[in-house]
Amino acid sequence: MSEEPQYSIPTVIQHGLHAIIRMPSEAKKIITLEKGKSINLGKFGIFDIDEIIGYPYGQTFEVLDNHKVRAIGATIYDTIDPAGDNEQEEGAEEAEATPAPESANATPIPETLSEKIDYLKKLDVQSSSDNRNIVDIGTAQSLSMEDIEELKKTASGANVGEAIIDKLIKSHETFHQKTKQSQEKYLRRKQQKFLRRFTVEYVSSSNLLQYFIEKDASKVLDMSLQSMGMLLTLGNIQPGGRYLVVDETGGLIVAAMLERMQGRGEIMVLHENEHPNHSVLTHTDYPQAMLDRMVKSINILQFFEPEEERVQFQEYTPEQLKELKSNKRTHYYRRKQNAEQINAVIDNAVSGNFHAAILATTLHLNTFLPKLIPSLGGSRPIVAYSQFKEPLVSLQIQSLSDLNLLAPTLQESRCRPYQTIPGRLHPLMTMRGGGGFLYSALKVFPLEKVQAVGRTG
């Protein structure tokens, strides 16, 4: 590489970029940071985009009155099992092998909500020592929807959430009989419902994937974050590589690869329609010029029948060109450029020697993958993602007798999240199933003789 182009991921919230807004409910929203516009987060409030400009991505804000915000520490507490509100566990506080919390005396009088919660956490009194008197929170809930609506009207702006929580605490009949932990969990759940806070995240491939997993996992073939990370690792993706990609996740994999390549290299997107589906890419902030330079697309007809598909373009002589009317000439140039582009992409594909084949497709791999092998360089990985294991089992069996493939491997990677309250660690009671499977192998050049007799003569 002589020019060494480079691209850096934005770290600061700026006009013109995208962002993912994460709300206390964990709901997410993709926005464009347009100057002078505001964003409506429904029950979490409205804020002006200009208010958040200049902060680093990852910042959490509280919505104030008049569309203003103020930057704060963190939105919400660390992982607490949403499904783990069972009584037995609550009783487990006696299990705490950790030193007792600092005495309540040392704690200042709580002002902010998070301080209030901290205060409650440190308060060692008024918590029932076992679960004998605990009644299910759901049924003991005494605050009606009407109460909440009323509060929304009377409390002003930013304080609505807090006022509701205070009221909830007061009105919860058995709140003080509850153990500390269940109080915390209760507060957290209420917080998720009413706090006017949000976090601004960069539209990284991980955040985008998370966004789509929650919104419609089928759009990204039910791929988990760890499957995506493994796909990139097994593919040995790095700056300067030339990759052959089949991506039925709407371009998410292309986006993730671009993130790793940082401006250098090329992605040849092989697709089965007239145009590739890159709907996910529209949410990213890669400069168009970089995309044009790095991402090429070719359909499988052009890829597998390049000679028939090359555009035969009859160039005009300078004399002929001169005679054309201006709109005809524009049309000519457009056609010429189009033909050149198509032919260049076809030439590029034909030249082969790709540094990896990355597949996330529902096409039948047993017949499709062998067609791609000749386009790969030696010692280069082929990695195929599938939502289901069975198609990869079939591919693996076939690969075992293909001498052009070395070490075909079928694996999965699952991520098990934990509740992260010190002293009460356990895996979350429920989690998403699925996440997909990965096939990988290396393209090699077998010895002719081995192929023939399995042994040299």
């Binding site: 783990g84 069972n86 009584e87 037995q88 566990e89 609550e90 009783g91 487990a92 006696e94 299990a95 705490e96 092998a97 076992d130 679960n131 004998r132 299910d136 039910d222 089965e272 329609n273 007239e274 359909n299 499988i300 007809l301 597998f304 029948e305 709109n327 529902t362 096409l363 039948h364 017949t367 499709f368 067609k371 939502q387 289901f388 294991k389 069975e390 198609p391 079939s394 098990r416 002293g423 009460r424 660690l425 356990h426 895996p427 979350l428 009671m429 429920t430 989690m431 998403r432 199933g433 699925g434």
Partner: protein
Amino acid sequence: MSFLGYKDIIEEGDLILAYLNRDTMKPIVINATETLNTRFGSFSHLSMIGKKYGTQIASDKGYGYIHLLQPTAELWTLSLPHRTQIVYTPDSSYITQRLGITSGSRVIEAGTGSASFSHSLARTVSDKGKLFTFEFHKPRFEEAKREFEEHGILGVPVTINHRDVCNDGFEIEDVELNATAIFLDLPSPWTAIPNLPKVISSDERVGICCFSPCIEQVDLTIKALQEHGWTSIEMVEIQGRRWEAKQVMVREADDAIERLKDVKRRKLEGIEKKRKYYSDNGIKKEDLVPENTDAETEEQKSQRMKLLEDEQEKTKVSKTEFNPFGRGLRIKEGEEGYSWVKVSKNEGEIKSHTSYLTFAYKQPAFVKK
């Protein structure tokens, strides 16, 4: 005894489970004068009497169906409103097998909780064994006791006590518990472990399982077990997974290539038709899409539109017949004319953790004669 033994025919007074769908089972006691009302219709108990267990019946009005099942401990667990933590089948079946609980075993359970595991244990210890179950939460104790009674297992084999076993121990007046297996589903099992020696068998090995959601509880439990002479301590987690099987279409790359060729052919055909139309009618492209539409009069525009319509009509290309993947059609899973591959997937949300299971054994002191 609905939960022990087998019955073929539904009779007055039987407890049955009306199976509505995978998520809904309703326990009912057959009473010829009553009717079961569900969102699938009403079903008079009378229509159930005399039917074989397992029969599907239609509602009184003829629409809507349910199955009539004989309850088992496992179906009972599935039918429970999840009022408190339930020991699910993957855990309960492992604990039972691992502790060697069989017909005739004498088992201690604390606490009773939803009584779901109690039912499973009662089935296994059978009328020849004993289940001593303890619950310290009064409403739960009463609910469980009522259920045991209704299910014909109170007394034989189930004995239930309202008791805080951590503080008050396991002894029952005038009864030698002599337990051979212990199951502790308590917030702090380590406070109950010291109370066990008085109630366990003194002439055979006794097994224990402590069921705790948090790892820190396991830590304290292990220490208490060691301190009180329990050995072979092992801790495991059981992970049950359900799979849903389905079929997905086999999509051949060659078919996709053919589709693209077909699209291309149609495009060329359209261009060809247009060219022919223009030459046949002596029309120039400029007539249809003029360089400057702003300068066009209303009349010119209307005439051009008519020409355009005519062109569209005359140069129409037939829609492709080649649709290998049934795009745009409603294809039923497994439909003929397409290839299918069988696959499996987890439910959307899986139970990733129930509790940690700590096992240990106690060997009786023995002096050789």
